[in-house]
Symmetry: C2
Subunit: 141 residues, 2 copies
């Protein structure tokens, strides 16, 4: 598993460092985790890692396409390891939990704008808003 992450890094022409491997591991193990949770997860294996190293790693890995950053309104940045399949997200308005929703089309942009305003569009990001099963049942009961 750790060696898989090392391969991922090498494949992206990135240096293999312990913080980066640990960050990859933390995001793979905690989909949609925010930076704070990732920092805590990384420190379970590497107690001395600075928060800055985690921020740097997340940026580098996101720029390299190994991770994807999502940031629903009202939420801090979250990261996930599913990249390249242009899937979408459902966000609970009550507790903020995020779940994946497959994109029927698969490749970006999965939608074309009715009037693109002369923008050159490369991605259509879809965020579904609603209530998760837990919050939904809590409210109605």
């Amino acid at each position: 598993m750790t060696s898989d992450f090392q391969e991922l890094l090498r494949g992206a022409a990135l240096r293999v460092t312990r913080p980066r491997v640990a960050v990859l591991g933390a995001v793979y193990a905690n989909p949609h985790a925010d930076t704070d949770l990732i920092i805590r997860a990384v420190r379970e294996g590497l107690p001395k890692v600075s928060h800055q190293a985690v921020y740097d790693s997340l940026h580098t890995l996101t720029d390299a396409g190994l991770l994807r950053r999502i940031q629903p309104s009202g939420s801090v940045a979250r990261y996930e390891s599913r990249v390249g399949d242009n899937h979408h997200h459902v966000v609970c308005r009550s507790c903020g939990v995020v779940a994946d929703v497959d994109c029927a089309v698969g490749e970006a942009p999965c939608l074309t704008a009715s009037d693109d305003q002369s923008f050159s569009i490369d991605e259509a990001e879809v965020t579904y808003w609603g209530l998760c099963p837990d919050c939904s049942s809590t409210r109605s009961s």
Copy 2:
């Protein structure tokens, strides 16, 4: 026009205060403006308004459905006066400018998730990402 805003406020059972009227005016005049721009616009007419009053007004007006808040990843909160038509947005990856895109369906949720994960979904928010005409021509030239 000011009286129109007063009617809007009364229609929403909100007290009519000068900051609120000014905030409504500023958002109607500056679609997709961020809070800082709204504060500056409001202070052209009411120089002494505190930033807190603007924040409070924006929250109240958004909660009442008179304004809509949008917050693309990497951007601060922005506000617009087009509400109720469930339109979407194109965001420029380079300069961050936001433009409206009509929704073909019109009413929320305009899309249904392929697998809703047992969430009860009430809105599908679509954000198109790309380059605006200006940034597009700057890069290619």
